[in-house]
Symmetry: C2
Subunit: 196 residues, 2 copies
């Protein structure tokens, strides 16, 4: 890694941490420069605007999410055990990997929901892609595969339990948030695999 | 309503709208004064700090939530039809009542999750109170009442579907977000009422 790349990676990491705690739109270039011990002009060598930094920070979080959640499970055969592994990795993403400030992707989606523009569009595309993956994974829960609509609905419920977990764990500080989400997800898989 | 009260109500309404779109911590006293056509000193007559304004805005949103969701359903007998009515009112709260900027309570919970302090504590208490109400409502789904743990778990799932609805509808712009949430909630009530 060249020195410039290493600096950029450090800036991204610090900016991501600040944005996760204080909000993406509440994190200025000055805040990030100060945290990194750089002058504002030093920071400008890497990002020439707040918008450019925001985009890099959010896209970097999406890349890290894929590395964290998907990379360790992709060798498993599609089906229930991979779905359970994905769910556990997403719980860990929220509580372990992002213990300090929560999931920047989720908080950015809330911040961006009423701010149309290229960053919103890019995050939307990444999340849409992830939802397609989850729907495909749900289809592989049974043999023959689940129909698309049933799988999409199950993916909606799966995502809801992850959001419920983040809310219960991070804001409400429920000690049993993880167990509640996990139990809800297990029952979802049970009834989706054996309908009727 | 006295003139001062009317002005304060107008400031709260405008500040709430700005905070829902731009974020609670990204809304300055200057922004609110400008939107209301007041000088900053005019605004200071009503709120002497950004923190005081934030607290009033969030508590006002909680009061409006109770008026909007609870007031129209409280005359119904406890049980399935009241639970369904509460769920519908919460969907409407997100999409109709707060069409412009989404639910300020939910976005504030995300903004406040890693900002300890009195405002976080107050919002936490209000949300805890609402969750106790939902758990109690779930207990009344059956006769004899559901046990507390089962009802609490069902309330977790109910809340998760509402968060899933907000995410799918507001950020992902899914046309079928409402129908997905409603279908998930109906199935939750079916299986909670008839376990096994």
């Amino acid at each position: 890694m060249r020195k410039g790349d290493a600096t950029k990676a450090r800036i991204l990491a610090e900016a991501g941490r600040l944005a996760a705690v204080n909000g993406l739109f509440n994190t200025s270039l000055n805040d990030v420069a100060e945290r990194c011990g750089l002058s504002k002009s030093g920071l400008f060598k890497h990002f020439d605007s707040k918008e450019a930094m925001q985009e890099s920070v959010v896209m970097d979080a999406c890349d890290r999410f894929v590395d964290f959640v998907w990379a360790p499970v992709q060798h498993l055969p599609a089906g229930r055990s991979r779905l359970e592994a994905i769910f556990e990795r997403q719980l860990d993403w929220e509580t372990v990997e992002n213990a300090a400030g929560g999931c920047l992707i989720m908080s950015s989606a809330v911040e961006l929901d009423d701010r149309p523009g290229p960053l919103r569009d890019k995050l939307h595309d990444r999340l849409q892609q992830w939802r397609r993956i989850l729907t495909r994974e749900m289809m592989a829960l049974t043999d023959p595969p689940l129909d698309y609509e049933t799988a999409k609905m199950a993916a909606f419920e799966m995502n809801s339990f992850l959001l419920g977990h983040a809310n219960a764990g991070r804001f409400m500080r429920d000690g049993d948030a993880r167990e509640a989400a996990r139990a809800a997800f297990r029952r979802l898989l049970d009834r989706t695999a054996k309908p009727g």
